[in-house]
Every structure is written in structure tokens, then in C-alpha cells.
């Protein structure tokens, strides 16, 4: 059992490096201090993922039937967890404002529909989103910005830092950064780790940090588990599956492994890290499957927008249509929700 016994700050190569995490493993005190040795020693202790087992467990949980009052609860819960997202080259201020309006009142005909968890945009649209949300009564809805040369992450550290600073200065209170998958796959774990640490330091207490693993490029579930722990050790507040720009994205086995990672992390450290599946979750059924996975893997404590988010755009309309079906008794059509 790994036990966290403290964090401290120190300087490496003249740069501040925090937080650094100690672990006690079988009474040997360990330190993930950003050095290659410490990271490898830490990740080496993780057991491998039984891929067949993970797939069948995820498939089994997906068969669970959620109906009537539970379904109603699940739909509202899912709506409140959505990071309503627009990440297109063609985004305009108008589109972002429309999305913000929808985030506050997803269904204008029904005030009992909860607001969504957050708005997620590129960093140059953060100010527009923040301003519009504040103007229409959405002060409580955070704006998340994708950062660090999203979606590829192929830029220098300086550029990534500046990208993040821009978003923070424009009012983002959540930063969705991507890891350098190339570095991770080629074994340069220090680079991956240190980038997360640097960005976390910029976020400090101004924003919380979601680390996108882009699991579709990590190839194996073992890598997903390692990357999850690496991100958490480096200070992630959330681990997020994907950018949504490549497929496959948030598949059930991947989300299962990440939920197991946060569960184990909680057992080790007493700290709850959030999970955000993103990409490919388009229907109410998909969303409810995710909620079942959360409940059965990490536990009920994670069923809150503070610890679980769903990155999506089209999903919200389907949730609203299902909600109308529960309310009115007949099937709704896409004419009764907004076009995004």
C-alpha cells in the first residue's frame, strides 16, 4: 500500500517544482520528485491491467437498465456534469455566447432543468464566455479553457505556459491541458511530468487543472493506468480521457481504468481526483453508462460535478429530448432543441 506522507516544494535546475509527492510503499519512503528514477520507481509498482477483464467488466456494467425515477435523476445528474464544449476552428463570439445561454438554461421551456457543469472553449474565447455568463446569471458556471497547444500538445514549454496564462488572465477557472503523448510513448516521463507540474504551478489556486491523456494515442490500458498515476502525482485535479479530436475517445474500458486509478489514488493519499471522459458520448444511454461506471468503480462520492464531468456538445440535446419524453410522455424531435 502506498501512503502519502507529505508534499514539499523545492527547486530543480533553478525552477520551482511543486507539489512533489512522497509515498510510503512497504515502509520505504519514496519521493516522486520529477527525476526519471523516482517516476519510474513509482509507476513500476502499478500492477498491469487485465485488458480482457476490464473490457468484460465495462461491458457488464453497460447492460444495467436504468428506468423511470432513476433515469430522471440520472438525466439531471448528467446535465449538471456536462462540460458544454465548442472547439472548432470556426467558433465565433456569437456561437460561444449562444452556447453560454444554453449552459445556463439548457431548456428554455423548462426552468427545472439544471445548468451544465462548465463551458469549455479555446483560450481566445474565454473572455467572451466569462463576460456573457456573468451578464445572464451564469456566475456560478466556470469557464474551462483547453490549453498547452491543444489538441496535439506540440509546442515549446514557453508557448504552453503563455497559452495557459492567457486563459487564466481572461478568466478561465479550469484549465484542460494535454500531455505530450510522444514523450510519454518514447519514455521521456520527466518531460510529461514536469510540464504538468509547471502548468499546475501557473494554475495554483486560480484554476483547477484537468490533464488530458488522449487515451486513443496511448495504445494500451497499461499506459492509461500509468499516465493516470503520473498525472495525479504531478498535481492534476482531474484526469480527462481525450481531446475529442481523435477516435477512439472515451471508451468504457478506458474510463473504467481511469476510475480505478482515482479510486486507488484516494486510498493512497486521501485525495479525491476527478475524472472527465470526453469524446464520443452522444446519447443519454452513453451518459448513463458512464454514471453506472462511476458509481460502481470509484463510488458514489464521485457522482458530483466537482469530481466527474462529461465533455460533450451533442449529448445535451439528447438528454433534453429524453427529459421531454419523461415529462410529456411522447418522443421529442430535434426541432424542439437548439441547433448548435
Amino acid at each position: 500500500m502506498l501512503t502519502k506522507i507529505g508534499t514539499f516544494t523545492r527547486t530543480i535546475h533553478g525552477n520551482p517544482f511543486s507539489p512533489l509527492t512522497f509515498f510510503r510503499y512497504n515502509s520505504i519512503v519514496q519521493l516522486v520528485d520529477g527525476t526519471d528514477t523516482s517516476i519510474r520507481r513509482f509507476l513500476k509498482q502499478l500492477p498491469g491491467v487485465d485488458q480482457v477483464g476490464a473490457e468484460s467488466r465495462a461491458a457488464m456494467l453497460a447492460t444495467r437498465s436504468i428506468k423511470t425515477t432513476s433515469k430522471k435523476w440520472a438525466i439531471d445528474c448528467a446535465i449538471s456534469m456536462i462540460d458544454l464544449t465548442t472547439l472548432e476552428g470556426s467558433d465565433t463570439d456569437g456561437k460561444v455566447r449562444a452556447l453560454c445561454t444554453k449552459a445556463v438554461h439548457p431548456d428554455p421551456t423548462d426552468p427545472s432543468v439544471p445548468s451544465v457543469g462548465a463551458i469549455c472553449v479555446y483560450n481566445d474565447k474565454v473572455a467572451t464566455a466569462r463576460k456573457h455568463l456573468d451578464a445572464i446569471g451564469g456566475q456560478s458556471i466556470p469557464v474551462a479553457a483547453v490549453s498547452t497547444a491543444f489538441p496535439s500538445g506540440r509546442a515549446s514549454l514557453e508557448v504552453k505556459k503563455q497559452d495557459t496564462l492567457d486563459a487564466l488572465n481572461n478568466g478561465a477557472t479550469e484549465i484542460d491541458m494535454v500531455i505530450d503523448r510522444g514523450a510519454f510513448l518514447s519514455g521521456d516521463l520527466v518531460k510529461v511530468f514536469s510540464e504538468i507540474v509547471y502548468i499546475k504551478e501557473l494554475c495554483a489556486d486560480r484554476a483547477h487543472l484537468k490533464v488530458i491523456l488522449e487515451t486513443g494515442e496511448l495504445v494500451t490500458l497499461d499506459n492509461v493506468r500509468r499516465a493516470s498515476h503520473l498525472a495525479m502525482a504531478a498535481g492534476a485535479d482531474f484526469i480527462k480521457t481525450s481531446t475529442g479530436k481523435i477516435s477512439p475517445a472515451a471508451t468504457a474500458p478506458v474510463v473504467l481504468v481511469m476510475l480505478e486509478a482515482v479510486r486507488d489514488w484516494y486510498a493512497m493519499t486521501g485525495i479525491r481526483i476527478g475524472v472527465k471522459p470526453a469524446g464520443g458520448i452522444r446519447t443519454t444511454k452513453d451518459a448513463i453508462k458512464q454514471l453506472v461506471l462511476v458509481r460502481e468503480t470509484a463510488g458514489e462520492e464521485w457522482l458530483t460535478p466537482k469530481l466527474f464531468r462529461i465533455g460533450a456538445s451533442a449529448l445535451l440535446n439528447d438528454l433534453l429530448m429524453q427529459r421531454m419524453k419523461l415529462r410529456n410522455g411522447n418522443y421529442a424531435g430535434p426541432n424542439y432543441v437548439t441547433l448548435d
Binding site: G329, N330, Y331, A332, G333, P334, N335, Y336
Partner: protein, 279 residues
Amino acid sequence: MRIDIRKTYKLYIGGAFPRSESGRTYEVTDAKSNFIANPAQASRKDLRDAVTAARGAFGGWSSATAFNRSQILYRIAEMMEARSEEFVEEIALLEGVSRVAAKKQVDQAIDAWVWYSGWCDKISTVAGSTNPISGPFYNFTVPESVGVVGVFPAQKSALLGLVQAIAPVIAGGNTAVVVASQKYPLCAVTLSEALATSDLPGGVVNILTGITSELAPWMGAHMDVDAIDATGLSKELDKEVRVSGADNLKRIHKFSSSDTPQRLLAFMEYKTVWHPIGI
């Protein structure tokens, strides 16, 4: 000695042949009440999936050129011709008529496809108009497709009624969700196999088999269905569908005659365009 390889009668949704989501089937008997087959008994969720598929196919089908639609309808006639023996057998078995009478019905059904195929690129010329107005504008009125149409074909006809209901709906550029005759559903399934091999994009025609009284109210209340051909509905169901269909102003029609351009025009709406002269 060889074991019979019997056909599984499945649904036709979005170009695929799924069983009912509910896993149910029901019993179909011949004219003498002998068991023939267990086709799928579609549930309201199958209907919902079919409407989603039809809506998804609508954009492409309605914007395809009328000439292209015409060719595809003709192709359906060709594919049915190749399967005519199977249709004859099914009609003779279900309706209890002679093979000669059954063959006549199949021929009429195939001819109906050809007839509606011809109408595809003529309907807007015949029903549309250039309107005289006092102003510097061209003024046209053209019929356009309404959207997703729920189709309840005549209950007492195994094949002909079905084709006479589907062909005009899709000839006009609509997509269809068909609930086949409850008693005579087998030809509908065989027709779907012909449709699947005739260049008709998946989702343009979706065919459900099952209990009409179970599915009709859901079709009537579905907010994403734009019109209904209620020919095969009983008086009570027709009334129920008209009441719930009023919610989204569905066009609901019942037909007694067949092969008339009115069946096409019932599922089209007129659009009038003003275009300034000289621009």
C-alpha cells in the same frame, strides 16, 4: 435429406436488419390458421430508432435530384421482379388466394413502382406553377417533401397496399417509417430485402412488423414525425392518432383510391419563391 433453412423475419431500420430491441416475436398464420412464421414484434423503441434513422436519411434523400430518385424507384421494381416468385408464394399463403391471383398482385405492385418512378421528376412541373403577379418578380410555387412520414398501409393487402403506400411517400422525397400489416407482414420483410439491394440509401424506408394498436399511438405522438398515412388504421386508432398528432400539426391522410398523384401530393407542401427580375 436436408434440413429446411427458414428465413428469420426481421425489422428493417436504417438499412440494417435488426431483431426487435425487445426480443419479442409474434405468430403469423395462413388463411387456414396454420402457423407460418414468427416475425419480430417491434416495440416503441424500435419505432423511435426507425424515426431517428428516417430523420437522418431525410437530408440526403430529399435533396437528391428527382431524376436520381426516379432511377432508384425503377431499380426497386427491377429487384422485386427478381424476387417475384418469393412474393407470389407469400401472398398465396397469407391471403389464401390462387397463385394466379397472387402473381397478378405482384405484377401490379411492381408496376406501381414504375408508375411512381415516372412521377418523381414530373410532379413539380404538373403541380407547381409560375404565378402571374404585378411586380418586378418571378413568382414560382413548387411542391416540396414534408419530412418523415409514418405509414400504415392497408391491412388487407399483403403486398400491393404496402407498395401503393410507400412508393408515393418516397417518390416525393420524404422518408418513411412503415408499420406493416399486422396480419400479412411477411411480404413487407421480403420487400425490405429488395429495398436493401436497390441503391435506396439506408433509412429512407424503415419497415416495422408488429401489433398496429401498440405502435400507432407512439407514431401519432412522436414530435419528429411530420405526416402519417393512416390508411391501414382502424376508426379508433385513426381518431387517437389524429388527436395526438395535432400537437405538432401532423398532416394525416387516409386514402381509398390508389395510384393517383394525389397520394404523392398529400405528403408534399407548397413553397412559393419570389425572385427579383434582373438579378
